[in-house]
């Protein structure tokens, strides 16, 4: 029995431990950047190599799932909780993406983080993240998945707040963790319900139970399970109503945004749903909810992305929006297509974020697109790679994003599992906006005249090879990634939904429409932003709407008013001041003072007069005698 999968998972953990101890100030002086780099990049690269090996083994075995038990975590009564790894087509795809994209982002970080005082800590955290992410995608049981699920949340928390000297960064990390925790509570409930129904957390067993229809779902509503798990997914994958943490998460270093908040972690929710697809197949209502939430998230996030001025914020909202697309695909039963989009999105969004990182690096930390422009010639490699990735996300035919997005649109329209024209309509409109805002971002950053401060402009420089090389690689993948036929590869495991027969002949029409939309979005953006006054005029025209959008619909403020403040108020005023201090301690102190006062009254009877005492004694004796006589 080989332990390839275990090694894939544990190598990054080893990297974390080594870098965490040696590369930080814990033992005095940290080791040199070179050693940190070797450990930090060595672990994921080795994991990637092992993943390729495991994938080849999987293929050699005709894609029969590889199960690799590690140890028994716990056993209670007859119920056992095993830690085992599971490699099938789905987890193979995810593992390749995670280790592959993860590795290149590690390499990129060696350049990006060069000279940071916490270099070792950064790579330690990054490796820790990879460990948990691999646990998440390779776990056989929901429990292992959940361990990874919570763990990536922790890594994300640590990395968002990486530069914790600024309290806002640390706050953003906390917000991410808490919001994710809300989702996790839902996830936990879903897990408990599944355990109630099946007595196990092994996902293959659960899926098989649902698929064969023999599941003894003892009074447990499948819809409830599906919705509870989906709550978890909305947290991790930043869907309405729990998406608010992701834009703030951009406080972390840019490679983190690329790896965690674009390429891998945020797609964990999509992976979860695809993993538990049998549950969702049995729960059409929940799937419908998922599709609606997905498309709504895609739409609203895209509207917010239209007006953001921070280069990373635009990309963040774009990520939320793209995740919405994925959930739309999941909701209409096209699980393989959703995973396809996960993969292509990982390529082009990682490329975009890393490109943005390169821009920020070049400008010495500037993130505001209003202070950019004209970078086309100054940082050409970044410019070209960014251009390719922008085209890919905008849906320009032939590039990666086009294929996956087009399939999502098609199934949203025609799937027999909940597709409908209005889903397609909203999604298509969102695709138009996507092309527009990405092109706007691209134009403001690279084209037109320079709006940079003179001091910044003097220092603009192209990034080192460790960064540009990665950008080129990812740009190539963004261009060619669409030719990986992932839905077909996954079809044996995640069958695509049937297409409603009467709609089949619309396919080419819709294809044409979506190509037209992509170009239209690009064209409008270029038309507007090539002449700055034109954009300004439009902005003035729709000022209230603009304010609403740049205020992000004031959702953060709403949550603050509706959730955070009342919770604090209840805790501080009702519970602490009212409950603990007034009622509980108050009644206690009240009792004490009653006792004191009663004692004060009674002590007055002690006058010091012997005669009174004797008299009282006599009265007492007489009373006792009388009572004795009456009751004798």
């Amino acid at each position: 029995m080989s332990h390839t999968l275990a090694f894939i998972v544990l190598l990054p953990l080893l990297g974390f431990l080594l870098n965490g101890v040696l590369g930080t100030v814990l033992l005095g002086k940290p080791v040199s950047e070179r050693v940190v780099r070797a450990i930090g990049c060595g672990a994921p690269l080795a994991a990637f190599a092992l993943t390729v090996r495991a994938f080849l083994a999987l293929r050699a075995g005709d894609y029969a799932p590889i199960v690799e038990p590690l140890y028994q975590w716990a056993a209670v009564g007859g119920t056992t909780f095993d830690v085992a790894f599971y490699l099938d087509r789905l987890s193979a795809v995810m593992t390749l993406v995670v280790t592959g994209v993860g590795s290149v982002i590690h390499v990129y970080s060696t350049g990006y983080m060069h000279g940071d005082k916490s270099y070792g800590r950064f790579f330690a955290y990054l490796n820790l993240f990879l460990f948990f992410m691999l646990l998440l995608v390779l776990g056989r049981s929901l429990l292992v998945l959940f361990v990874g699920w919570e763990g990536v949340g922790l890594a994300s928390y640590l990395l968002i707040g990486f530069w914790f000297d600024d309290l806002t960064n640390a706050r953003a990390g906390r917000k991410a963790f808490i919001t994710n925790r809300i989702g996790d509570a839902g996830f936990l409930i879903g897990m408990f319900l599944l355990h109630q129904a099946f007595g196990t957390f092994d996902m293959d067993t659960i899926n098989a139970g649902f698929a064969s229809g023999t599941a003894s779902v003892s009074g447990v509503s499948v819809t409830l399970i599906a919705l509870a798990l989906f709550v978890g997914a909305t947290g991790k994958s930043a869907q309405i109503p729990l998406y608010v943490w992701l834009p703030d998460a951009m406080a972390g270093p840019t490679p983190v945004s690329a790896l965690i908040h674009a390429a891998t972690m945020v797609t964990a929710g999509v992976f979860l749903v695809a993993r538990m697809s049998a549950v969702y197949m049995a729960a059409p209502d929940a799937s419908q909810v998922m599709a609606v939430i997905g498309v709504a998230t895609a739409f609203f996030a895209a509207t917010m992305a239209l007006v953001q001025t921070d280069i990373k914020k635009v990309l963040a909202y774009s990520t939320v929006s793209q995740l919405g697309f994925m959930f739309l695909a999941l909701g209409v039963g096209a699980y393989g297509v959703a995973i396809f989009h996960v993969v292509t999105h990982a390529f082009f969004k990682a490329c975009l974020f890393l490109g943005a990182g390169s821009v920020i690096h070049a400008l010495g930390g500037e993130q505001d697109v209003r202070k950019m422009g004209g970078l086309r010639t100054r940082i050409p490699i970044t410019f070209w790679t960014f251009a390719i990735a922008t085209a890919a996300i905008a849906g320009i035919p032939g590039l990666a994003g086009f294929f996956s997005k087009d399939q999502i649109l098609w199934y949203a329209f025609a799937s027999s599992r909940g597709g409908s024209p209005w889903l397609w309509g909203v999604a298509a409109l969102t695709a138009l906006m996507t092309a527009f805002y990405m092109c706007r971002l691209f134009w403001l950053t690279f084209m037109g005249p320079s709006r940079m401060d003179a001091a910044v402009e003097a220092h603009v420089h192209e990034s080192p090879l460790s960064m540009t090389g990665v950008l080129m690689l990812l740009a190539a993948l963004s261009a060619g990634g669409g030719y990986l036929a992932i839905p077909r590869f996954l079809e044996a495991q995640l069958p695509l939904p049937a297409v409603v027969g009467s709609l089949e002949h619309y396919e080419h029409t819709l294809l044409g429409v979506s190509i037209a939309l992509a170009f239209a979005g690009v064209a409008i953006a270029i038309f507007m932003f090539s002449t700055p006054s034109r954009a300004e005029a439009v902005r003035q025209r729709v000022m209230p709407l603009h304010r609403l959008l740049s205020g992000r619909y004031f959702v953060d403020e709403l949550y603050e008013r509706v959730l955070v403040k009342p919770l604090e108020w209840v805790s501080a005023t009702v519970f602490l001041r009212g409950g603990d201090r007034a009622v509980l301690d108050g009644s206690l102190h009240g009792l004490a003072s009653v006792a004191q006062r009663a004692a004060a009254v009674l002590s007055r009877a002690q006058t010091g007069s012997l005669h009174l005492y004797v008299l009282l004694v006599m009265v007492g004796i007489a009373g006792a005698l009388f009572w004795g006589w009456r009751h004798g």
Binding site: F164, I178, L188, E568
Partner: protein, 511 residues
């Protein structure tokens, strides 16, 4: 020497230590080392017994049974079983760590302090090992006095108020329990003719429901004060805040667990019918404790109070698991007890260490400690995350099983038309969000942001402090990563608890 003799040696060792301290009155350093030696010896003995403990046997192991007051049927009956084995191990583990943790912080009446620590250790061990109600009661009361003195003599500025409150609450509960104990034994003699205080005999008692309810009420009040459960918890924050670090560690680490242990070992199994009848009430109180403790921890400005209120919340999960009467839930409750013992001890030690350096407990006077004292911060983060219940730490194992048990118990009731337990379980599950909320608020202000500390420069942890926290951290991870071995030790006890509480024992019914 037989294992039973070793168990007795282990139990009485602290008392021997007291004798040594009194004889060998010398400089403070010798006192500290001597106490440490005794505690370590006790830990070694416990470790030996722990690994000799046979987890397949239901019966008492390494037991000693000697008559003590034969006229009343009182015995000196001590032994290990699945109920107490983990808590005994926890107590023995915390002993040396407490001594080490207080190495520098106590500089007044050093001998007396260590005598108190040893007496407390003796009483706690005794209460855990006792298998005779009278013996248990004696140890139970004996725990109070050293704790009372530790807070009262070495405590903070409001120590008199805190000690008084602590004493009144616990003494009130104890007196009720004493009355119930006497009543129970007398009625057992009247009905069955047996005059015995042994737990196993008392488990045979058959009492009418209303008597059971009354007695359960008395026991439950006493235990619930110790746990503490809402609304009997207000003594805890005051006691914790005023207590010296060592006091807080023992209080949170072991003493609170005496309450839940009491429920598990005595309260519910002695009066099963009443226990089942009042389960909804108790469960509601447990869930209220979870939420209420968490909410209050959220708005505290005193760093010790945050941890104190978090204890209330965490022990709510223990009660939830115990009340679920599902094997998984019971096991989860036991793990959660140990986990909370480790985590709260670690957090109080950490807070104590920073207090020694800065002399303030106000949260907002700190900031950016991660930059100033990184090793401290790493440990702080580990224990914070364990407290939040992050997977791979002990906190997760306990909470997860307790909640799973609660769900498993609640779902059939829900299907049968009673959704109350399910609502409670869902609320309890949402408690994990609140847990993250207050602990991360604590960590945020404490560790992150611009550096701020009242007494700079701050020295990072010394080797001694790293050792203490390292041991606890290892235990936290061990329980999170490999709970299987520990769960096996307690499984038989959990089963017998479940059987005892689920079997009706009203008079007249079939046995």
């Amino acid at each position: 020497m037989g294992d039973a003799a070793l168990l007795n040696l282990m139990l009485w060792l602290p008392l021997v230590g007291v004798g040594l301290l009194l004889v060998a009155r010398g400089n403070d350093l010798r006192t500290r080392w001597l106490t440490l030696g005794v505690m370590v010896a006790q830990l070694v003995l416990t470790a030996w017994l722990y690994q000799r403990f046979d987890d397949t046997a239901v019966a008492l192991q390494f037991s000693t049974d000697a008559p003590w007051i034969p006229q009343w049927g009182v015995q000196y009956l001590v032994g290990l079983d699945g109920f107490n084995v983990l808590l005994v191990a926890l107590t023995a583990l915390l002993g040396p760590l407490v001594v080490l943790g207080a190495f520098r912080s106590i500089d007044r009446d050093v001998t007396l302090f260590h005598v108190m620590l040893l007496l407390l250790q003796f009483a706690m061990m005794g209460a855990l090992l006792a298998q005779d109600l009278f013996l248990f009661y004696v140890f139970w009361e004996a725990m109070l006095i050293p704790m009372f003195l530790i807070i009262g003599i070495w405590g903070g500025s409001r120590r008199v108020y805190a000690t008084l409150k602590f004493f009144l609450f616990t003494a009130f509960g104890s007196i009720l329990m004493l009355a119930a104990v006497i009543y129970l034994v007398v009625s057992l003699k009247a009905s069955g003719g047996v005059s015995s205080f042994a737990f196993t005999d008392l488990y045979q008692s058959r009492l009418p429901l209303d008597t059971q309810s009354l007695l359960l009420g008395a026991f439950a009040l006493s235990f619930a004060i110790k746990v503490p459960m809402f609304p009997l918890h207000t003594w805890l924050p005051d006691a914790h805040v005023e207590a010296p670090t060592a006091g807080s560690v023992i209080l949170a680490g072991v003493l609170l667990k005496m309450g839940t242990y009491g429920f598990m070992k005595l309260g519910f199994p002695l009066f099963p019918d009443a226990a089942r009848m009042y389960t909804p009430v108790l469960m509601t109180l447990a869930v209220v404790s979870i939420v209420y403790g968490a909410c209050l921890a959220l708005v505290q400005d005193d760093i010790k109070k945050i941890i104190a209120y978090s204890s209330i919340s965490h022990l709510g999960y223990v009660m939830l698991g115990l009340l679920s009467l599902e094997l998984i839930g019971i096991q989860g409750a036991i793990i959660q007890m140990v986990s909370h013992g480790l985590v709260a001890a670690g957090l109080f030690l950490l807070v104590g260490m920073v207090y020694e350096r800065c002399h303030t407990r106000q949260l907002d006077e700190y900031g950016g400690l991660a930059r100033l004292i990184p090793v401290f911060s790493v440990f702080f983060m580990i224990f914070t995350l364990a407290s939040v219940g992050l997977p791979l730490t002990s906190g997760f194992t306990g909470e997860f099983f307790a909640l799973l048990g609660a769900f498993r118990a609640a779902w059939p009731a829900h299907v049968a038309g009673n959704s109350g337990p399910l609502v409670l379980a869902v609320v309890a599950a949402s408690g994990v969000v609140l847990g993250a909320l207050y602990m991360l608020r604590f960590a945020l202000t404490f560790l992150f942001g611009p550096t701020k500390a009242p007494h700079q420069p701050l020295a990072d942890l010394s080797g001694r402090e790293r050792l203490v926290l390292g041991v606890l951290a290892v235990a936290v991870f061990a329980l999170g990563l490999f709970p299987a071995g520990v769960l096996r030790k307690t499984e038989a006890a959990a089963r017998s608890y479940q059987a005892l509480v689920l079997t009706p024992r009203l008079p007249g019914g079939a046995p």
